[in-house]
Symmetry: C3
Amino acid sequence: MKTFNDLAELPTDEISALLELATRLDKYPEPLALQGKVLSLLFLSPSLRTLASFQAAMTRLGGGSFVISPDMSIHGIETRPGIVMDGAAAEHINEAVPVIASYGDAIGIRAFAERKDLEHDMSESEFGALTDLIDTPWINMESAMNHPCQNLADWKTMDDLAIPANGGKFVLSWAYHPKALPLAVPSSTLYTAARRGMEVTVLRPEGFELPKPVMQKARAAAESSGGSVRETDDRADAMQGAHVIYAKSWSSTRHYGDRLGDQKLREEHIDWCVDEPWFDNARDDCRFMHCLPVRRGVVVSEPVLDGPRSVVIHEARNRMLAQMAVLHQMLGAGQ
Amino acid sequence: MKTFNDLAELPTDEISALLELATRLDKYPEPLALQGKVLSLLFLSPSLRTLASFQAAMTRLGGGSFVISPDMSIHGIETRPGIVMDGAAAEHINEAVPVIASYGDAIGIRAFAERKDLEHDMSESEFGALTDLIDTPWINMESAMNHPCQNLADWKTMDDLAIPANGGKFVLSWAYHPKALPLAVPSSTLYTAARRGMEVTVLRPEGFELPKPVMQKARAAAESSGGSVRETDDRADAMQGAHVIYAKSWSSTRHYGDRLGDQKLREEHIDWCVDEPWFDNARDDCRFMHCLPVRRGVVVSEPVLDGPRSVVIHEARNRMLAQMAVLHQMLGAGQ
Amino acid sequence: MKTFNDLAELPTDEISALLELATRLDKYPEPLALQGKVLSLLFLSPSLRTLASFQAAMTRLGGGSFVISPDMSIHGIETRPGIVMDGAAAEHINEAVPVIASYGDAIGIRAFAERKDLEHDMSESEFGALTDLIDTPWINMESAMNHPCQNLADWKTMDDLAIPANGGKFVLSWAYHPKALPLAVPSSTLYTAARRGMEVTVLRPEGFELPKPVMQKARAAAESSGGSVRETDDRADAMQGAHVIYAKSWSSTRHYGDRLGDQKLREEHIDWCVDEPWFDNARDDCRFMHCLPVRRGVVVSEPVLDGPRSVVIHEARNRMLAQMAVLHQMLGAGQ
């Protein structure tokens, strides 16, 4: 495996192999597997789980990592192409990325969407410009539209909990949040649940529809896997018989890049905070999933988050295991 | 060993075993002992020695670590319970702590006292709220009232220097400092010297008495160990025949949480800077100890700090060795 | 090897051995060489390549490292000698450096020049004050006048590219930059090219002459190695038949420490941006070298930096390999 960017780029047997390997590495540690191997970690956007879990993953496999982020004392990093650098930034990403990559056997990169223009963000042109600079294997640690490490961890979490693939009912629900957040997690989570063969419902208010290409990609995956994809703003309908509700806030696609328009629309939906009554017609054992960080009392009520439905810590721990599997496939002895 | 929180929680033979192990690991390195093991390090308060020495300790034992601190680019972390998170903080400590812990085989946590209310700080309720969130073994890297890594390092330092346990005279002296500092080091150091069986004198101005429960805990330890504990504001009396002066500034307990009252009282004692004349009636080889960081010319004079009495660098290096012993006991093959 | 400070302190066979070892470690990894060994990294000045490449180097050799820099949450660090520390800084470098050093088997230190007084900076008295505090082996990660890791990496780069030692024409050229930068790289690069036996030309405008002792040191090296050193402000003359142009901006030595005088003089030379026409009478395969970070469109044009002449990424990767060789010699089994 040379890149880990989007589950859509992997055949099903490779996904299965990663999931099995993640489980095996949890039971049977391999502290010599990546001896002397280095993972470069470049964070152009903030992180806690990804930062911690990748470092832990490399250590558990016997290798190591280093972190570079712009909040370190490294002068500013310029990202605009073709610019005369007579301002504050002392280094251009065109040198920084290949240099950082050259110190590792693989590199992980995180760079969130600009969130000015939806077409632009969906094109992944900025993330592509970064990865075009790299010769080594690379891992997408969250770009404008993808978060494959989260997706693989979530898939494993549902397997761990014996939530059915075909026949499993998965609700991806928008939730209120004071800020306009990126589309990477909802888009790639939708794809993942559909790819897993689940009956997926996107529950969101009007104006927060996921982009058409995102829905189409998920529908195509569902067709192959025996799943289905639909969308609604009717909560009771969506939650009917649900195995899982996966909550996440995201930007209004109707007002994408228009901060005030987004703000106005989202404040009409401040009641979209996942709470126990949401589960009235779900399965009794319906689970609550979230990628974290999550705002208590805003995205989800405390009783749900702290209660038995919540599997958010399980998901977060699976980040490490999923990434260990990816790193093992990418850098291990068989490669 | 599942937790390392307070030397008072350990039987004497366990303390002895840790001290012996620390010495052994210095002489006979074990670079394979913790292969593939991960220590999570969570700093909710600033650090230099602890930050560096724990990372070094894990590397020397063949494992690794990662650091999370709020000065990193990780959004704010909310610590208040039961809050609606519609402000700046994007993550609550209730998720952050178990997630970070889940990536490690053990976790170290540092969180200083609030220093508003003495009862509250002495209850360690905030640190307890954090460690209640954790399933893995954990290490106290300094809480409101404890600093067991420093205590174990200091005990080893006195052993290294052949300072007598029973019969050794230990002066814990308050010193001037422009800020009101926590009680963790003086309280746990007092306990440690008493537990070691020494004749301990707390030397402090009126208004800076250590809290009664702290004195009682030390007196109880002294009774079992054959030591003694007393307090005075008479410098010449305290230093008579002393083997060690351990300097440390701390908050006024009379004005705890009252910044201006504390400030006014401490400024009357700006002359409490440990200087060569303090040693007039001490033993010729009386040592100067301090946990660092120390303010030169304020807490201690340069001649004393840079002179042969000072063992502060020895103490600081012993931090690493003491922690290696703790980690070895907690995570090594026999556990 | 106890210190790595200045190539001038190493006999030629040691430099050769380091260069061979760097190449060997690239081809034949030694992930067990420094098992359990710790490198302390102290950055008193900002860094990206050095920060990343030293961490990667230690991991590749089976050891580890930790980083301390003042941008971390560690209270301020006081550097002035003999001061009464009643201000913001809570720790003095006199404790911080030996403590940090005591956790490692070796320590790397970076501390740039003050750039107030040229004599003072050339004396390296501040860096010397730091290294005087250390008992362990240490590595200069850039001081006022030295950058030996960069020098060794650049030497290896020229070897890799078969740029002749004796007979090779090396142009060290000043370039425009909006800020007054240190002399460490140009001074030590000049020495390195001369020591390698090359025909070295320093190309710079009037007022930017390198200091006389720097020129003399390089000339003495050239005499022993069969090389030569000259200086000029005539670009066409300098570039005649050149194998390499090594661009770097530096402070005006005529206005050293005088920010406004420097600024005024350098702005007369805003056209000193290395561009394709500079190479008109150079060798066709003349290379462009730079230590990075480099300002695009200011120090060098985009077509040169992104074109086939540029070997800046190769140089940067060689930082890691050169440092692996140094660490292996310093801390490996034979030591």
